[in-house]
Structure formats: structure tokens, C-alpha cells
Amino acid sequence: MRQSGKVVRITIIGFGNVGGCVAEVLMRRREAFIREYGIDFRVVGVADAKGVFVSEDGIKWDILRSFRERHSISRNTDMSALELIEDVEHDIVVEATPTNLKSGEPGLSHIIAALRASRHVVTSNKGPVALKYDELMNIADAKGVQLRFEATVGGAMPLISLIQNLEGNEVTAIKGVLNGTCNYILTRMYEEKIPFEHALREAQALGIAESDPSQDISGEDTAVKLVILANAVFHMKASLDDVSVQGISEITPEALKLADDAGYTIKLVGEVSRERLEVAPRLVLKGDPLDVRGTLNVATVKTDIAGDITIVGKGAGPKEAASAVLSDMLKICTTEKLR
């Protein structure tokens, strides 16, 4: 028996690791989404830096599959990504272009155009959310649409959803290990007593660290996540300049040994509260909830009523980001009447 679901049309802007992975999961789980959620996702357009492929009835799955395999799309129109967002009728824009922490572009323009056209937006792109949170939320509110960004913060752990589900509680602080690359490096230095450079090269060889790892190891990536949390959870109007940031490149194997002797390990911890926005290597008691190893991420949410709630999950990778994007998409579908 062929089942049918409510058609939800989406575009994927930025068809790299994350965007491609979102498409792949949509293909693979298509039947399940129809069966379990009654939703039939159709990808009506995709865009990368080279161009746009559009099909208003939904791009055929084997075409999407070939784009995914080639990590690149072939265009079938002269339309720009912005025109695709504005002019082709659809419900949700998935924005997964590269993060730019200076201007937020091209993602910022994509998201603004999408919200103005009354389309919901799900993004994995940290730039626009960290730089222009209030502005974007104001447009979304005015247009009665949602902007969701779970994938920008906690890898596979649903940190934003957790906090949204704590209604009635006041969140007083969030503290956590929010960068899987740094956590991997520190874990290896701790376990194998190897120098920082050695652990970094290992992480790069394994594809855990990027070839340019500076945003991770300088603590900037964690700082951006804190800014997003500061704005989204604490309504602080914070920017990167407000975060005190220290990275991990100075840490020595001897420091990890001394910490170990005293019953501690060292983690790159991000902490956000109304009083404090800080990224720094910190001593964490062995066995503490924040003592997670390898590429794992962890966050403890401090609340006034529920006390401390800690979640652990795989750190950011394309699959984890795609998982977060999908769950945001389904949240939109289940909370909104889509046209």
C-alpha cells in the first residue's frame, strides 16, 4: 500500500557536508517520515556556490543522490540562491552555507530573504545567528514563522530543545564542553601524555580536526556557541567581543599530569550566565558530569527549580548537524499549519 503524507516543500541552500547529509537522510527516511509524522518532504531546490537546481514538484531522488555523491550540484537555471529562496514557493529553507563570523554572509542574506518571504528557516550556520539574533527573530515574529538553529550549538545533543522544554524554570547558567575537536585533543594528551601538536595532527589525520583548526583550538568556536546561547536563552544582546576567550594550544602534557595527580582533568569549558561569558581551559574533577572523553560534547543547564540537568552527545560533525536540522524541521512541521 502506498501511503501519502502532507507535502512539505523545502530548499537546501549550501549543499556541502551538512546540506548533502540532510538530503541523504530525507531520501533514506522518506517512508518513515510519511508513516510516522504524516509528512512527505519534497526538495524543490538546492543551491551551492556554483548555482541552483530547481524543480517545483520536487527534485527526483536519483538526481539528488548524484549531487550528494559528487558533493556538488549541476545547475538547471540561471536563478540565484536568493531568487530560489524568494520566488519558488516552499515552506522551509535549510541554510547550510559556510559560517562567516564577520559579516554572516552569504547565510545572513539568505535567512533574511527567507523569513521576509514568510518561510520557516532551519540553519546550521552559526554566523547569522551569532551576529544578528535579535534582528532575525524580530523578522520571524513579524512574519509568524520560525527560525530554528539547534545545529549551531551542541552537535547531536539537543541543547536548545532541552532548554525550550524547561518552561517554568529559570535557566541560571549553562556550562559545558562544546567543541569535540578540543575535547578529543585534550583527551588524547591526557591519556597518552603526548604534546598538543602531536594530538592535533592525529585529530587532523582522523578528520576530526579541520585542516585549519584555528577556530576550534583558539576557543572561538565555543565562544560563538556561547554568544548564541546568551542571546537565545538569556536575551543578553551579546556579541563575540563580550566573551573572554582562552584556547588550548598552550596546554602541556605536564599540566595534564599535575591535574591528574590532584584528581582532575583539563577541559575546554564554555560558561554562560548573566554575569559571565567565558571560554577557558578548566580543571574538572575526574568523574564530574563534564568529564566526557573523546569527541563527545556535554552541557549542564543550571535551573532554579529542576536543579542541574546534564546532556551528553556526539560533538559537531556533518551527521550530527544533519540530525539536528532534521529534528528542527520536524518540530516546525508538528507545530505549524503549513500551507
Partner: protein, 166 residues
């Protein structure tokens, strides 16, 4: 409660019941007696016996206690405050040559309310960065945090990285 360890030297007359009489105000004020030491071998020329009592008590009750003891005719020779109750470890990384580590320790020890009670140093090679762990104790949690801030400032000025517990 800001618990503080006190060692109290008193002199008691060598007659039964004196010790109980002297210890009563301590328990009345919520103190926890840890040890009582009679120096029978060191009788004073007037025939009194020196006794040392070590106990824990809220620091705000110490003055009242001494007054009550005196009112009971107990002669108080010395009130030793073992003040350092809260401690924390920090790790420092940098070119910590001897003079620098001395300055760091002095910055804490000179406060009067905190001191460095333990130091471990790892120096892998002459021109490489050293790592150190310092245990700092202070009279209470607030002062401990104050001491940590002082240390943080000095470390920052010297370009030394400081890693503190969450």
C-alpha cells in the same frame, strides 16, 4: 557557618570537674571538640595544669566564647586560630622561572588571609614551558576566591596561563 579550627590554651585548677566546667561554653556555642590535651607534667608554679583544647566553631562565636570562659574563671592563655579552611588547586603554565614562581607565591602569602600550601613543578626542558600546580588555602570561601583573583591578575601580567577548577 564559617567553621574555623581553634586551638585554645587554658589553665585549669587541679581539682575534679574543672575540665567539664571549661568545656561547657564550647558546646553551648555549637563548637565541635576535636582533642583535649592535659599537660600534667607541666604544672605551673601555682599548681595549675595547662590544657590544650582543639575544636571547630563558627568563627563569629570565638569572641563570645573567650568572654564566657573568662567569666567562668578559666584563664585563657592563647587562642590559636587555625584559619585556613578552604583550599583550591590551580595549574599554571608558562616560562615559570624561579623569580616568577616566587612572585606568584608571594602575591598570595602576603595577603594575610591565604597562602600557598603545596607546589609541584614540572620542567620538561630549559627552554620549554613549565607547568606547576599550586594548592591555595584561605580562611574562607570568599577570601579564597579573592586570592584566586589576585593570583589570576599576577599570572596574566606575567603571561602565565592559569587553569582553575570549575
Amino acid at each position: 557557618m564559617r567553621a574555623m579550627k581553634i586551638s585554645l590554651d587554658i589553665e585549669l585548677k587541679d581539682i575534679p570537674g574543672q575540665l567539664v566546667h571549661a568545656l561547657k561554653p564550647i558546646s553551648e556555642l555549637g563548637g565541635n571538640i576535636i582533642s583535649v590535651l592535659h599537660h600534667h607534667n607541666r604544672k605551673t608554679p601555682l599548681g595549675n595544669i595547662p590544657v590544650q583544647v582543639v575544636f571547630e566553631i563558627d568563627e563569629r562565636n570565638v569572641e563570645t566564647l573567650v568572654q564566657r570562659l573568662k567569666r567562668r574563671g578559666v584563664s585563657v592563655l592563647r587562642v590559636g586560630r587555625e584559619r585556613l579552611r578552604s583550599s583550591k588547586i590551580v595549574i599554571l603554565i608558562g616560562h615559570i622561572v624561579h623569580s616568577d614562581i616566587r612572585d606568584l607565591i608571594d602575591s598570595i602569602d602576603s595577603t594575610g588571609f591565604a597562602e600557598v600550601v603545596k607546589l609541584s613543578l614540572e620542567m620538561p626542558a630549559i627552554d620549554m614551558k613549565s607547568s606547576a600546580s599550586l594548592t591555595i588555602s584561605a580562611v574562607n570561601e570568599d577570601k579564597l576566591n579573592e586570592a584566586m583573583e589576585i593570583l589570576g591578575d599576577v599570572a596574566r601580567k606575567k603571561g602565565i596561563m592559569m587553569i582553575s577548577p570549575i
